[in-house]
Symmetry: C2
Subunit: 380 residues, 2 copies
C-alpha cells in the first residue's frame, strides 16, 4: 500500500551543459536540487552546527554514518527514538553510508570474510559484525531516505587482481543488499561502482550494478589517495556507463575544484568532511582560496573572512576576531568557521546549478578557479 501523499523516489534531469546535469531528486522527506553537496553528520550531528543552521546554509540533505551510529547510540535505540531524522531533528532527507568504509578505516581487529566483516569498536572495544543484510537492516532502523549498499572500498594502491577480487565481492554483496532492502515509497537504495583505477573493472562493476538495478549509483573507491588525473579518468570512464535517469553520487569528494571537475563529468551528489573538519582546524574555504585563520596576518584585520559570503560569520565578524577565537581555543571559532565553510560549499553548488541551467558552466568554473587560485586578499 503506497501512501498517496508520499512522492516516489525519482530523479528528473532538468538541463544539461556538456556532461553536467541539473536535476532534482524527489524523496519521501523532501526534494534535493542537484548537483548537491551533503554535509556530513557522522554521529547524528553536523559537528558544531544546529540543524536549523545547516538548513540555513541551503543544505537539503545530510549524511549519517552507519558505523558510528550502530556503535553509539545504537541503531535499535535510534529506531525507538523515531529514526535518525527525528533523533537529530533534521526534517529533510538523510543518506546513510553502509559502514563498510569506516570499518576499514576506524575499527580495530577487523576480519573480512565472504559473508561480511567482524570488528571491534574503536569506542569501547566491543565486538560487532556487519554483513550486507545487517547493514541494510541498520539503515532501515535509522530510517535512511537513501540507503547505501554495503561494499568494500578498494584501497589505493591495489593490484588489478586485488581490485578485481574486491570489486567482485562488493558486487555479490550489492545483490544481497538489493534483496534485503525493504521498499518504501520515496526511499532509495544506491549501488556503488568499484574497480579501483582499472577501467575494465569499472565497466564490469557498472554492468553488474545496472543488471541488479538500483535507485541511484555511487562511484566509490576514489579520492582514496590516487592521483587526481586517475580520479578524473575513472569519472570520465564510469559516469557514461550509468543510467541517465538515476542520480550519480561521488563518495567522499571533495575540494571545490574536485567537485567542479566531477560535475563537469556528470556527477550529481557529493559528500565530504572537508568543510566541517576544516572549520574545526582554522581552515576556511573562500572565494579567494583557502585561508588559515590561525596565521598572525589576520590578528588586526577588520575585514570579513570572505567579502562575497552571506553567512553569519562573514556578516557579523572580522578576521581579527576569528583569529582571536582560534588562538584562545574558543568553541565559537569552530562554530563560525564551520558555518562559513558549509555556506561556501552550498553557495558553490547553487552557483553550479545556476550555471548549468544557463549553459555557462565552463565560464563559471573558470571564474571560480581563477578566484580560488588568485589566493587570499592582500594583507592590510
Amino acid at each position: 500500500m503506497t501512501d498517496p501523499i508520499v512522492p516516489a523516489f525519482r530523479y528528473t534531469r532538468l538541463a544539461t551543459d556538456g556532461a553536467a546535469r541539473l536535476g532534482r531528486v524527489e524523496t519521501a522527506h523532501g526534494a534535493i536540487d542537484t548537483p548537491a553537496f551533503m554535509p556530513v553528520g557522522t554521529a547524528a550531528t553536523v559537528k558544531a552546527m544546529r540543524p536549523e543552521s545547516v538548513a540555513e546554509t541551503g543544505a537539503q540533505i545530510v549524511l549519517g554514518n552507519t558505523y558510528h551510529l550502530m556503535l553509539r547510540p545504537g541503531a535499535e535505540r535510534v529506531a525507538r527514538l523515531g529514526g535518525l531524522r527525528a533523533f537529530m531533528a533534521w526534517p529533510g532527507p538523510v543518506l546513510t553510508d553502509s559502514g563498510g568504509f569506516q570499518v576499514m578505516s576506524l575499527a580495530k581487529l577487523r576480519r573480512l570474510d565472504d559473508d561480511g566483516v567482524t570488528f571491534q569498536s574503536h569506542v569501547d572495544g566491543s565486538r560487532h559484525r556487519l554483513t550486507p543484510e545487517r547493514s541494510v537492516e541498520i539503515q532501515h532502523l535509522l530510517g535512511a531516505t537513501i540507503t547505501m549498499a554495503f561494499d568494500e572500498c578498494t584501497p589505493y594502491p591495489a593490484t588489478e587482481e586485488q581490485a578485481a577480487a574486491s570489486m567482485r565481492l562488493s558486487m555479490r554483496w550489492a545483490g544481497r543488499c538489493r534483496a534485503a532492502f525493504v521498499e518504501r515509497p520515496g526511499h532509495a537504495l544506491f549501488g556503488i561502482v568499484q574497480g579501483g583505477v582499472y577501467p575494465h573493472l569499472r565497466t564490469e562493476s557498472a554492468a553488474a550494478l545496472t543488471g541488479i538495478g538500483f535507485d541511484g549509483y555511487a562511484i566509490g573507491g576514489l579520492a582514496v589517495g590516487e592521483p587526481h588525473d586517475a580520479m578524473l579518468r575513472m569519472l570520465e570512464h564510469t559516469a557514461p556507463l550509468l543510467p541517465d535517469d538515476r542520480p550519480r553520487y561521488l563518495m567522499g569528494v571533495g575540494r571545490p575544484q574536485d567537485i567542479l571537475a566531477a560535475v563537469r563529468r556528470g556527477v550529481d551528489m557529493f559528500d565530504c568532511v572537508m568543510p566541517t573538519r576544516s572549520g574545526r582546524t582554522a581552515q576556511a574555504f573562500t572565494r579567494r582560496g583557502t585561508v588559515n585563520l590561525r596565521n598572525a596576518r589576520h590578528a588586526e584585520d577588520p575585514r570579513p573572512l570572505d567579502e562575497g559570503c552571506s553567512c553569519p560569520c562573514c556578516q557579523g565578524h572580522t578576521r581579527a576576531y576569528l583569529h582571536h577565537l582560534i588562538r584562545a581555543g574558543e568553541i565559537l571559532g569552530p562554530m563560525l568557521l564551520t558555518w562559513h565553510n558549509l555556506q561556501y560549499y552550498q553557495d558553490l553548488m547553487a552557483g553550479i546549478r545556476a550555471a548549468i541551467a544557463e549553459g555557462r558552466l565552463d565560464a563559471f568554473a573558470t571564474a571560480v578557479l581563477a578566484g580560488y587560485e588568485a589566493g587570499d586578499v592582500e594583507p592590510l
Copy 2:
C-alpha cells in the same frame, strides 16, 4: 561636550517588594532591566554562543574579563579594532571586571605591593603589571560601558586583621581608580565593597566608597568559600549602606537560589560562570533542579530537558539526543546546554522582575525553590 543623543548613566528604581528592587539602568549602549543576570564573556565570547543567541535569551549586558583580554588579544589591539563591543559583535552594554580577581586566581608568580600587582601570564609566561590606573586605562581601551574599580578580592578565610588591611588597600585603590577614570556620557565606574565577613569592615568600606562617590556599587569578596549564611548576613548588612539611587552588583553569584536570596536583600546585578561552565560539563539548570545529562537514565528519554523552557534546546531536542551528544563528545552538546542554561537564568530574572512589580516576590521565590527542590521528573 555631552552628545545629546547619549543618555546619562542612570539607575531608576521602579518598584520595591520588601528590600527587593525593580529597576532600570540606562547607559550609552542600551538599557538594563534589573535585577539582571550578566552572562560571562571572559575572552570576548560567551563560550559556545553566538552573540545573537545570547541576546535571544534576553540578556541585555555581558561581562568581559580585563585579565584575559589584556593578555590576549591585548587591550590596545581591541581598542584599534573598535573596542570590545565591536570586537565581539555585542551591540549592548558591557561590564568589564578589573582583572584583580583573575590575577590572584589564575596568574603565576604574582607579587602584590601597595601600588599594584606584577604577575606572569598563565598563557605564555610573559610579565605584566596591573595598577588601579592601568586597570582603568585598559577598561577604557576596551570601551567598557561599566568599569570596575581595581581591588584585591579578600580571600576566605581571612583574619580580621588581614581582611582590614586588604580592604583598606582596595579603598586606596578605589580613590585612584576614581581619579583615573575618564568620564564619558552613559559610562560608569563602580566601586567594590570589601571587608570579608566582618560587618564593621563592610561598614567602613561602604563609607569609604560612598565618600568617593561611584555610579554603582559592587559587593565583592563573597561567594569565595564562606558559608552561605555568612554571605546572606553580609548582604543584609551591606546593601542598606549603599545609596538607593545606584545599582548594586553582587560579583560572581551564583546559583539560582543564591540570586533569589540576594535579590530579596536588595541586589540588582549578578554575574556567574555557572550557566555557561555547567553547559560544557553536561549540567543543566531546570525548573526541576539541576540535571546531569551524562546520566544513563536519559539515554532513551524522548522528553525535552525542561518542559517549561522556550529555548531551541528544549523546543527542538530530546534528553536522549542531548545525552548522546555528550557521550559522543560532540560540540553541539555544550552549544545546546549553554543556550538552555542562559535561557533558564534569564527566565529566572524575568520572573523575579515581574514578581517584584506585582509585589509577590516571596510567593515567586517559594514556588521556584519548591520546583527546584522537588528534583527532576521521574524516569519514564
